[in-house]
Symmetry: C2
Subunit: 156 residues, 2 copies
């Protein structure tokens, strides 16, 4: 049986991937903000108009969540043998994400190493840039991922 999953050994440093499409609905922006980020400028047009946002925009954490959805869909499609994430090194909310926007992702693998304590696991760092429909960068993040090794005795 062929194992077609994507393992630690398959991650190419410097490789870029472009994927995802997420339509941001007004209903979802308001629903997320009501639950998790009820600052007036995320919920109310008049309050938003008094800020640099200009109109109601998505919570930055909602933008991260929508990005995660695109990343997970891509990982699933690639059959990536992911083991979760220990954390994120940087998030920058570059521009507001508005209802009606359509988001997409570009990723680049930055570095990888084998776990010293767990030979069946590797850790990699990647940059993700999220664009809107006008090709403006709305969000960048640098995250760390854990992934299974194909060969725990490997040295790459």
């Amino acid at each position: 049986m062929t194992d077609d999953r994507l393992y630690y050994e398959d991650i190419e440093i410097g490789a870029r991937h472009s994927f995802g499409r997420y339509e941001v609905s007004r209903e979802e922006v308001l629903d997320f903000a009501r639950k998790y980020d009820p600052q007036p400028f995320h919920l109310d047009e008049e309050a938003a108009a008094r800020t640099h946002f200009g109109r109601v925009s998505a919570s930055g954490w909602h933008s991260c969540a929508m990005t995660m959805r695109m990343l997970v869909e891509n990982m699933t499609e690639n059959r990536q043998a992911g083991l979760g994430s220990p954390g994120v090194d940087q998030i920058r909310w570059k521009k507001p994400v508005y209802p009606g926007d359509v988001l997409r992702c570009e990723t680049e693998a930055l570095e990888k190493r084998r776990s010293q304590s767990k030979p069946d696991m590797g850790i990699f760092k990647s940059a993700c840039t999220v664009f809107n429909q006008d090709d403006e960068v709305v969000l960048t993040l640098i995250s760390n991922g854990m992934i299974e090794t194909r060969d725990p005795a490997g040295t790459d």
Copy 2:
């Protein structure tokens, strides 16, 4: 009329605050995961049992969102003159967050400076540590916040 809002000048470096209470429900964990992080170990007990999570746990982004809810409630209570955030410098998911957990926050203001281009705004960095009901750290994050200055001509 007294202005009782909390401005840039009121942020004390090194000051610690403890607040928040968030009960993590199973329904909410599954709802968030289905929408934003549909990895099998966040949705299915059998898949989770095969990983280091052991059982279904919240998406790390859901933990951030629940933390944001506690932060916003605290900002609202303090009448903080917040202007949003340019980004986060670090997130570490230290332990899984499980359905039934009860979360709380501790924050510490790390540094602050006035904006050079916008004298009516300051920027501050703070550390947030999230604990579960057993006082275990489940999440740490270092974030940047923008806030109004009371006196745009100030020099502190």
